[in-house]
Symmetry: C2
Subunit: 245 residues, 2 copies
Amino acid sequence: MGAKYTIPHEVTYYECDVNHTMKLSTMIAIVIKVSEEQSDLLNRGNDYIHQFGVTWIITHYEVFISRLPRVNEKIQVTTQAMQYNKYFCYRDFWITTESGEELVHIESIFSLMNYTTRKISSVTEDIIAPFESEKITKIKRPQKVEPLENPRSNAYNVRFYDIDSNHHVNNSVYFDWLIDGLGYDFLTTYEPKYINVRFDKEVEYGNQIESLYEVVDQENGKQTRHAIKIADKKYCEAQIEWQEK
Amino acid sequence: MGAKYTIPHEVTYYECDVNHTMKLSTMIAIVIKVSEEQSDLLNRGNDYIHQFGVTWIITHYEVFISRLPRVNEKIQVTTQAMQYNKYFCYRDFWITTESGEELVHIESIFSLMNYTTRKISSVTEDIIAPFESEKITKIKRPQKVEPLENPRSNAYNVRFYDIDSNHHVNNSVYFDWLIDGLGYDFLTTYEPKYINVRFDKEVEYGNQIESLYEVVDQENGKQTRHAIKIADKKYCEAQIEWQEK
């Protein structure tokens, strides 16, 4: 198992929604910040890896939520590079209270993408060694996302503020599009307990995306299924399990 | 002049746009956090003022920008309640570098609004005294915003994540709508030096707003004029002066 890195964070009002708990998009933005800080500390930051013509992309998150961080709460955000194989790096995140109670656990899959070809590039020892993660040969199959049957949909334009300093739409922005359609009543009645999200293609500035969603009744709450599409091509799909608050 | 209150802040990547400088919406969200923290410290936080059936609203900002805070920069954010009269409180904010260089200065106008009637309520000694601001009789007239002549416009739906814990669309969100239409080329060529924005009515969850804008050439850069409307009623208007980067 690789080196751990932790930063403290105090949750602000503008990181929270009407429920006084952290927005999913902000939560993802913060965990990515922690992994970027660790990379910088290990001298494997963006400047370093860009010399090889590659950049990190994230293709998958599985999020396990005990409860979401609350406004004004002091939390700890930890990351650890777990394992890697030829094309995939498995990185975990934990959000805990100051006293160490686990609030959120995230499993993610990172890959290196060639800037020019936009294709996945193999992971090199030089880039990965300082993270001290375990080399494995197995390719883990992420949990499948259930297909949509009779979705509703909303359109969203990619905004100038949705793109980050790498000119990409940051992964965190997809969470805004994914859940928004569920609406106020749903989003103030249910809280997410599990999220499985897969990123297939890169959305770009200037795109208009369709966010498709469907609510499925379950014994113990609701399941929602999601896809983000442009012109019938799937860019992202997700499944979220919700419980009544 | 009233009591000053300062917090340190380190600018994160997700608070910045493609230019590696802080998003205007985030900058406004952070200064509001500082004024809320000061109110809490003086025991005049939301819980306290809600007992009188009122809440703070912000009706005006004038923003003077030397340069925007940059990614990873350590800044100081200061607020001070300056003056008040029967209906208006004048509060200033400063963003400075760690060594005290002024980056941004903001002048704002706050009022108390009655929850039930949604009308402006007069400022009481009980609420304002701890801020030690100066009582004045004069009502300051904020700088006028130039009217639009041949605007273009974009539509935006208010999203679930645009509303804050008070069920309002936070003032900071308007900045996303205001500038987005100017587009990538404009927003990566010019940087804002002066912003004058007036909030007339409250946008609510479920609304679709029209963001109107127009670019006017100036000797020393560009001026943009803005309005946010719903069904031809003006909710917000703004004027921004830009200089080539």
